[in-house]
Each structure stands twice: as C-alpha cells, then as structure tokens.
C-alpha cells in the first residue's frame, strides 16, 4: 500500500470512535503483553517469594511481611547479663534485685512473642505461660516489646538462658491492587503475565493458522479441480464441528502444552483462512494483471505469492485480527477446562479456573480480574476486526 492510501485509510479509520477506542485498548493490551516483566510489580513465577500469609487477600490489601525469629543466649554473672554470641536486636537490662529485663532494642519492630528457655529453678517470666513439660516460658505480644525475668530467691551467681524472639508481621507499602490468589500470588502480576501468555499463544496460533490456511486456499484456487475439491470439502467437514469440540479432542489425544494448544487452534482456524483466501484469490485470478503475469511467463508460485497474495492480504489481516481474539478465547476455554496450558504458564483462562473454586466463598477477585481483562481484550479485538472489515468492504463505503 502506498503512503498516500495508507494515510487515507488511517483517516477513514479515525472517523469511528469505537474503532479508535478498540484500537487503543488492543494496543494497550499488546503493550502489557510485551512489557509484562517490566510492568508487573512482582514475579508471579518466583515461588520462593510467595508467602502463605498473603494468600487470598482481597483487592487493595497491603502485603504483609511475616515475622522473623531469632535466637540469642545470655550469660548472667552477679546479676549482670552479657550476650553470649550474636544476640541481634535483643538487649538486657537490670530491673531490680531479682529481675532481668529482656527486650528488643529498636522500637519500630514489634515482637509477636518472646520465649525464654532453660532458666534455673525458682525463676520465671512475668505474664508468661509455661510449657507443660519443658522449662520454656512464652509471652505473647509482650508489653513494651520485652519481658521481665524474675526470681523468688536471690539470683544465682552465674547462670545462662536463651531467648527465642519472634517479631510481629508487618504490613508493607506494597498493595495487592487486584488481590492475591490461594498461593499469595499478586493477581495484578499474574494477570499481566496471563495477558502475555494469552496474547502470545493467540497470535502465534492465529498466525500459524493464517500461514497454513492461506497457503492451502491459494493452492486450491490455483490448482482447481481435485486439489480444490479435496481442500474445500475438508474445510466444510472441519467447519461442521464446534471449535471447542475439536480443541478438546485434539488435546485429549495429544495432551496439554503450548504447542498442542497452538496445534488445536490451527486445526480449528485454518479453514477460515483457506475459504477466504481461496475466494479472494479466485476473484484476483480473473483479473487481467494475472494474465499479464502469466504472459510474462512468471512461475506459478511467484504469481500467487507476489501478485495475488498481496491483493488478498487486507481481508486476510482482518480475519487475522478477529481470529486472534477467537484463538485467545478458545485457549482460555481449554485452559479453564484444565486441558490447555500447563500450570507453569498460567494464561488468563487458567487464572479464571484457579479462582473458580473460591467464588462461592466470596473470594471473587481471583477470577474476576482475569475474567474482566479477557472480556475487554476480546471485545476490543473483535470491534477492531469489525472496523477493519467495514473499511475493507467497498459496499460499506459511504
């Protein structure tokens, strides 16, 4: 297409607000797909970073850092406690004749619990609950970030004890905008990666179908006769099955995986391209420029690929746009049914499926986010394809 007619095409495209909006939305999702690793706040595949404490958080909840646990040993001589080895943030102080205070030095971190172990006989910890068997005293949520070890009798000249401190969970600045799933995965990141996978599979599948289907359609148009009949009857046959049925059967036979899903989509979609490209090519083949090319004794493949195909391309591109959307929704359906992509590559469909079991416990957001995104994406792509088709169809020309 020359530059002038491209500009004219763009101008006519811009006349429709719906068209522009659908283009913008489609481009936005393409952008998300391309830059998902940069855009997404967390890496949803990094299982080591997931915390169960974050699991099933609704939309807008902050991320929580789990408490840390650390241990320290203290030696006490003549009532003065000294750290025995690394004691971290813990510090001791004297709180009277028969009293030793153990507390966290920094005020920011809060203690969830503090346990004191192996105290000599006669000593105990204020407000603690003692282990039924072991000499362990545990204070939950200690006041003032510390505990006091007290004794009924004068302190022994020398003894030692150990402390196990657990810091409290801490909300962070990070907010799970779209909530989290059952593994504590940030749904926003998961959705962004899901868009990436869905679009990748959709584009690759629809693209492969386009290449194969268009090739067969051109072949049928060029050869005619038996070749044409065989290809087109196969198309009719394939089109008589619902797409989801073909997809399910293929995956049932081949097993799941990205390549298998792509194969299933190709098997469903090549028919549309074959049918369209054949009829387009047939009408092109009637034009005199094809006869001129034959008179110039150009090889058949060259006439088909260099002369006929480019003239069929606009309509095929329209079909491609519509078929990407169809491929994405087919892949999502298959993944939702559990036969599509493997668990390691959660597409939008699988995210919806993952959240499905929680919907009845009112944890709707796990399915809702991916579902909404999928819906908007497919609607936008369909509107875009429709708009392109209208522009291509001279009958709809003003």
């Amino acid at each position: 297409m020359s530059r002038a007619s491209l500009a004219e095409f763009a101008g006519r495209f811009a006349e429709s607000r719906v068209g522009l909006a659908s283009l913008a939305v489609t481009l936005f999702f393409l952008f998300c797909a391309l830059f998902a690793p940069l855009l997404s706040p967390t890496d949803p595949y990094d299982l080591s970073r997931l915390e169960l404490i974050d699991a099933l958080k609704p939309m807008g909840s902050p991320q929580v850092l789990p408490g840390e646990e650390f241990r320290a040993n203290f030696a006490v001589t003549d009532g003065v406690a000294t750290p025995d080895g690394d004691v971290g943030d813990l510090a001791t102080a004297s709180c009277g004749e028969r009293c030793i205070a153990v507390r966290l030095a920094s005020a920011e971190t809060e203690l969830a619990s503090l346990q004191v172990r192996s105290l000599p006989k006669g000593m105990s910890v204020e407000g603690a609950s003692k282990h039924p068997v072991q000499p362990w005293w545990t204070v939950n949520d200690p006041e003032g970030n510390g505990v006091r070890i007290v004794s009924d009798e004068p302190l022994p000249a020398a003894f030692s004890f150990s402390v196990i401190a657990k810091t409290a969970e801490q909300p962070t600045d990070f907010v799970f905008v779209a909530g989290t799933d059952a593994f504590g995965r940030d749904m926003l990141s998961a959705i962004l990666y899901g868009i990436r996978i869905s679009i990748f599979v959709g584009v690759l599948a629809a693209g492969s179908a386009m290449v194969i289907g268009t090739g067969l359609g051109l072949l049928a148009a060029w050869r005619g006769g038996v070749t044409d009949a065989v290809i087109m009857r196969t198309v009719d046959f394939m089109l008589s099955f619902p797409a989801i049925l073909v997809g399910l059967s293929i995956l049932a036979i081949l097993g799941s995986g990205v390549d298998k899903v792509i194969m299933a989509v190709v098997l469903v979609q090549w028919c549309y391209y074959a049918r369209t490209s054949r009829s387009l090519a047939l009408s092109e083949l009637n034009k005199e420029y094809v006869e001129a090319a034959r008179c110039l004794r150009l090889p058949a493949w060259r006439i088909m690929l260099r002369h006929v195909l480019p003239n069929c391309m606009p309509q095929i591109i329209v079909l491609f746009t519509l078929n990407i959307a169809a491929a994405i929704s087919l892949e999502s359906s298959l993944s939702f049914l559990g036969v599509g992509l493997p668990l390691t590559q959660p597409s939008l469909g699988m995210l919806i499926a993952n959240g499905y079991e929680f919907i009845f416990s009112q944890k709707y957001w796990i399915s809702f986010g991916p579902g909404l995104v999928l819906l908007v994406m497919i609607v936008a792509m369909n509107l875009l394809g429709d708009r392109l088709r209208d522009l291509n169809n001279p009958r709809f020309d003003r």
């Binding site: 297409m1 009949a229 034009k287 005199e288 006869e291 001129a292 004794r297 150009l298 003239n311």
Partner: protein
C-alpha cells in the same frame, strides 16, 4: 515464401460453463450433454514478419479467447499454434523464448497489479528471465518508460496515480520490456477516451515502425482496424468469416456479415452515413444457429445456409471468406 511469425491452424476453444457438482452429476445421469460454448471454432490465420493483422467482430465473438490462445495463456481445445514454425508445446516450455509473444490488455485498471510499483511491473519479468542484467534493470526500465512516453519518475509510483491512458502506456511498456516479436493488442484502446485513444494508437504505430514487430490488433472498431492493419480477419460467433488485405476488405467486402458491418460503419463524409437495418439480435454462443451461424441475420441466406457449415474459400489471392452463396453476394 518466408515463414510467418505466428500461425494458427483450426484452433478451437470450447468452454464448459461453470456448474455445480450436483448439476454435472444430474446431467450425466440424464445423459444430457453439458452446454458448451464454442468460443473459438476452427480458426486459421497467420501473421508474417512486421505485419499487423486486425481481428474485428462484435463483442462476444471470441476475439479475446483467440488472443489469449495466441499469447499462450489459454490452452487450445483443438488445432495447432506455431511460432516461426515451432509447435506451441515446445515453444511455451522454454520460458525465455516464450516471451517473444506478448499481450496488451483491454482494461487499464485491472491489467496492472495495484500493489506493485510501475518499475516492478515493467522490470520484473525482464530481470527474472535475464532479458537484461539485474544491475542495469532500473536504467532499462527508465528507457522503456521513455519509449512509451512516460517520465522517468513514474518508476517509483503506483498504478493508481496514473490516468487511464498513462496506465495503458505502462501496460505497453510491460510487454515491450521483454523484447517481443509479436504483440497481441486485445481492445487495447477500447476503454479509453477518444482523444487518448489516438495517442495510444500513435504510440503503437511508432513502436511498430521503430522495432518492426508484428502485431495482432483486436478491436470492434472498424475505423481503427482500417487505420492500423495490413490484413483483417472478420469474426462472427467464434469463426473467421472473411480474411483479406485491408484495402481489399474495405473496398470489396464479399461476406454478407462484413458487408453489414461496413454498412453500419460511420462514413468519413457525414452526408453519406448509411446504416443497414440489422436483422435480429446476435445469437447466444451457447446455442449458435446451425449451418452458417449468420443465417438468421443474413439478407442473402438460402435454404442450405441453415444446414451446411461454410468453409473458408479463396476468392482471390489473399482474400478468403466462408459463405455458401459467394457468387450471389459479390458486388
């Protein structure tokens, strides 16, 4: 006698109108013959070196079909085609040599690929078949553009940027670029304005004068044919009914159909503009009248005209026609 550049002997083309498989099956079961169109029916003609042969006839009489068979882009259903004595089977098999017969098409819109630049349209075959070395192809295309009266900057433009006449020049340049011996022009100016027609005709005549190539000029316009051609074949419903030198044909037409055509032709002096009443419509090529196809419209028709097919007979050297009542119609 020197060998003709092109020769057709009893060339025919039968079309089977496109039908659904069911209809074909039904026809076969009922023992019906599927309807056939004899678009070209046993045509014999030749073009010698440097000659321009005109083919004239009403629309639908098979001119384009014949042109396509001559150009080698449509197979024949019967008969023989020869290029300088060589049968077309072997001639067309050698792609590089087969370029010697080229064609200029009727429709300046659909005959140029809208997605290719003019430079590619003209240069593609020449480069692919090695008519000129690839390195010189651009210069060669510019030369060819100049030959057909187009500016050099046309090379990087698309067909839709040109007017009908200019596009037809591109079509002519495309044919010339592979250095043909025989140029088949199928209604090459029919789709153009009258003023533009004259320019294209002049261009074709100039090219012929410069390069001495042979030409088959197909038209339904008798004036153009008379102006351009050395010899003329008149076709009616797939058959050649009269073939003679231009002067002879226009001054002494012997076949009743030719006479009728010439009578319907506007004369140069408007005063003597005479029209002959045309009896009847042109019949359907699907069911042509038996015997002489022309008999329902012929003023000289006799009984046997509807049963016997008239063969071409030579009346005078170089003047043949196919009429059973030759003596009666001779003026």
């Amino acid at each position: 006698m020197t060998q003709p550049v092109f020769e057709a002997r009893d060339v025919s083309r039968i079309f089977e109108p496109a039908q659904g498989a069911l209809q074909r099956l039904g026809d076969r079961l009922a023992g019906r013959q599927p309807p056939l169109v004899r678009a070209v029916d046993r045509v014999t003609l030749s073009v010698s070196e440097g000659e321009t042969l005109g083919i004239v006839g009403e629309s639908g009489c098979g001119k384009s079909t014949l042109a396509r068979m001559i150009a080698g882009i449509l197979p024949v259903s019967g008969g023989e085609r020869r290029y300088r004595g060589e049968g077309y089977d072997s001639f067309l098999a050698r792609k590089r040599d087969a370029l010697k017969v080229q064609m200029v098409f009727q429709d300046p819109m659909s005959s140029l690929n809208p997605r290719l630049k003019v430079g590619e349209i003209i240069g593609e075959a020449a480069a692919l078949h090695g008519v000129v070395p690839r390195a010189q192809i651009r210069r060669y295309v510019v030369e060819t553009l100049n030959r057909v009266g187009l500016p050099a900057d046309a090379i990087d433009r698309y067909p839709h940027e040109f007017s009908g006449g200019q596009r037809q020049r591109v079509g002519i340049a495309r044919a010339l670029a592979v250095k043909p011996d025989l140029l088949v022009c199928d209604e090459a100016v029919a789709a153009l304005d009258v003023s533009v027609q004259a320019q294209i005709i002049n261009l074709l005549m100039d090219i012929k004068q410069d390069s001495g190539l042979s030409m088959i000029f197909i038209s339904h316009d008798l004036g153009l044919i008379r102006h351009l051609c050395d010899r003329v074949a008149v076709m009616y419903l797939g058959r050649v009914v009269e073939l003679a030198g231009t002067e002879e044909l226009f001054s002494n037409p012997t076949h009743p159909y030719t006479q009728m055509l010439l009578a319907g032709m506007p004369q140069i002096s408007l005063k003597r503009r005479t029209f002959m009443p045309i009896k009847g419509e042109i019949p359907s090529p699907l069911a042509p009248p038996p015997g002489c196809h022309f008999h329902p419209r012929c003023l000289a028709a006799t009984d046997h005209c509807s049963t016997r097919r008239p063969e071409l007979v030579e009346l005078a050297p170089g003047h043949t026609h196919a009429c059973l009542n030759a003596g009666l119609t001779r003026n």
